[in-house]
């Protein structure tokens, strides 16, 4: 009798503890864990900088193929190098959250640690949110560290004069752009646990977004049907607004800027809702089929 009572108490306490796993505690624990991992692989930070430098060298030299070309868009005229650099910087910074998050989930699956994450009382959904939030913060931080020296090496924006209002609008557009990738990463994480190909999924999404964003050329190069499709990609609007703020002194009162901010925020919310409702179904499916840890 005493034993049964004791057992009930243990089960009750266990259940209580499971319910009491606070989101903030787990969130901070994941941040601490990830910082420790990054600190263990300090060399990868230097390698990351070198890789970024190489990528931007590629776009710099590609832009030099059309050095004399002046690109006119939304009432401003800018040289091809600045035009390409502005587009590529925004796409690179914002897509980093997606690629890093999905790479992280793929690594967990490959190493076999994903199964443990799935069964943690903290919950896989909260883990996804915390992990992607970390990658978002770290991605922005490391991008700033990387891009300052790169912009000294390739002074693409040396002739750009920008007002305080435009800087504010530019930062707001960038933030919204990063936010949309946060939500997109959550949906992609759902697909990753279903089809287990996170790295490839992120590569394909980033490839298509880069193509449609017009980061490398104005959208007028596309045929009409592709121009229409490109308008449905929120990043296309973001790149356009970003460039307007940088080269045309666009502010938040400009229709392109505020429309893009509203579209980005509403798309981010829409993607989050899709994630929220699809998560449970996908999670139950992998549990039923027993493919939680399969890679």
């Amino acid at each position: 009798m005493i034993f049964h009572e004791y057992l009930r108490t243990v089960v009750r306490e266990f259940k209580q503890r499971e319910q009491n796993t606070k989101f903030l505690e787990g969130f901070l624990a994941i941040f601490r864990r990830n910082f420790r991992i990054i600190w263990q692989y300090k060399f990868s930070i230097i390698m990351g900088f070198v890789t970024n430098l190489i990528i931007f060298s590629l776009f710099f030299y590609v832009a030099l193929l059309v050095p004399e070309m002046q690109i006119s868009q939304d009432n401003y005229i800018v040289d091809s190098v600045s035009f390409i650099f502005a587009g590529v910087i925004l796409v690179e910074i914002s897509t980093r959250t997606l690629s890093r998050s999905l790479n992280s989930f793929t690594s967990e699956m490959k190493q076999g640690t994903f199964e443990t994450l799935v069964t943690l009382p903290f919950g896989l959904k909260r883990y996804f949110i915390s992990e992607i939030a970390f990658e978002m913060f770290y991605g922005v931080f490391i991008s700033i560290i990387y891009f300052i020296p790169i912009l000294f090496i390739y002074p693409a924006f040396k002739s750009v004069s920008i007002s305080i209002e435009s800087i504010f609008a530019l930062l707001l557009v960038s933030f919204c752009c990063i936010l949309i990738f946060f939500s997109l990463s959550l949906i992609a994480a759902n697909f990753t646990i279903l089809v287990k190909r996170g790295r490839e999924i992120s590569m394909v999404i980033i490839g298509i977004i880069s193509l449609l964003s017009g980061s490398l050329f104005p959208l007028s190069m596309f045929p009409k049907w592709l121009q229409i499709i490109a308008q449905f990609s929120p990043i296309t609007l973001a790149v356009r607004a970003f460039r307007l703020c940088m080269f045309g002194n666009g502010t938040i009162t400009d229709s392109i800027v505020w429309i893009s901010i509203i579209v980005l925020i509403s798309s981010a919310v829409f993607f989050y809702i899709i994630f929220h409702f699809s998560y449970k179904r996908i999670y139950n499916r992998i549990r039923q089929t027993g493919t939680t840890h399969e890679f």
Binding site: T51, I54, I55, L58, Y61, L65, E200, L216, F217
Partner: protein, 283 residues
């Protein structure tokens, strides 16, 4: 006695160098085909990149491709297609050993391990599968950009020769970094760095005539620069420049020989070290 000898001969034939490489390749192809979704997604990505530079080329249809009689799209599609082969040749040997170590199969593979056979077998399988991607990308290029050539039989043979040299030169680089992977039981990350450098500085998306100083030095140190320059010359020049062809082929052969020998020695030493210290299956 005769029967025994003939069966022994038969067995030896089955276990010949080529047969073993063939067996490794077939098993790798079968394994890769288990991951069809990965293969398809990479193919979609490659097609997207081709589209991206197709539209970039439209930015200035009269874009000058230093000394070559080609449009920008014709110029870059050659490099973009071969980039897949370079990536496969660079990543396969090193990546597979790294996977074997991580998944714990390295200790059993290690017992009958012939590094050269393993490298050639796995790389050949990877290149075989990548070739399908190239065919699909070229077909799309033909459809969207009217990309077509008429080349002679002699040019086909030369392209094949350059193709093999490019493949081998990147395979030996991968073999070189495998020695690090075997020794330390972890990936150095240098293979992906070399791949990034090759993508940027070997003249895939812009002619190396645009480079100067240190970037030009990097470009001249990469084997793909020589292979791609020769291919562009064969495809876009009015006549074959035999001097350039001989020079570039010699450089590629030299790189294959020197890096190959160093890689083989280093792998041998690494294997000896891990055997001595009992680190075969340790991760």
């Amino acid at each position: 006695m005769i029967e025994i000898l003939s069966s022994f001969k038969e067995e030896t034939k089955r276990n010949s160098f080529i047969a073993r490489i063939g067996a490794i390749s077939i098993s790798r192809i079968k394994m890769t085909l288990n991951y069809k979704s990965s293969y398809l997604m990479v193919l979609v990505l490659n097609i997207t990149i081709v589209f991206m530079y197709f539209f970039f080329g439209k930015l200035n249809p009269d874009m000058e491709i230093f000394g070559l009689n080609a449009t920008y799209f014709e110029y870059c599609i050659i490099g973009l297609c071969l980039q897949m082969i370079v990536g496969t040749s660079l990543g396969t040997a090193n990546g597979n050993i790294n996977n074997e170590i991580a998944s714990g199969t390295w200790s059993s593979l290690f017992l009958q391990f012939n590094f050269l056979e393993y490298s050639i077998g796995t790389t050949a399988a990877g290149v075989f599968l990548s070739s399908f991607s190239i065919l699909i990308v070229l077909s799309i290029a033909f459809l969207i950009g009217n990309f077509a050539f008429s080349i002679t039989f002699q040019e086909v043979l030369l392209i094949l020769l350059i193709f093999i040299l490019i493949l081998a030169s990147h395979m030996v680089i991968s073999m070189l970094f495998t020695s690090f992977t075997i020794f330390y039981q972890k990936d150095s990350g240098l293979v992906s760095l070399i791949y990034q450098l090759t993508k940027t500085f070997s003249g895939i998306l812009f002619p190396i005539a645009l480079l100067s100083g240190f970037p030009l030095f990097i470009s001249n140190s990469l084997p793909f620069t020589y292979g791609l320059e020769t291919l562009h010359m064969i495809l876009f020049s009015d006549s074959i420049q035999w001097k350039l062809l001989a020079y570039n082929c010699s450089i590629l052969l030299g790189m294959i020989t020197v890096i190959g020998i160093i890689a083989y020695v280093l792998v041998f030493l690494s294997l000896k070290n891990v055997k001595k210290n009992g680190k075969v299956d340790w991760y």
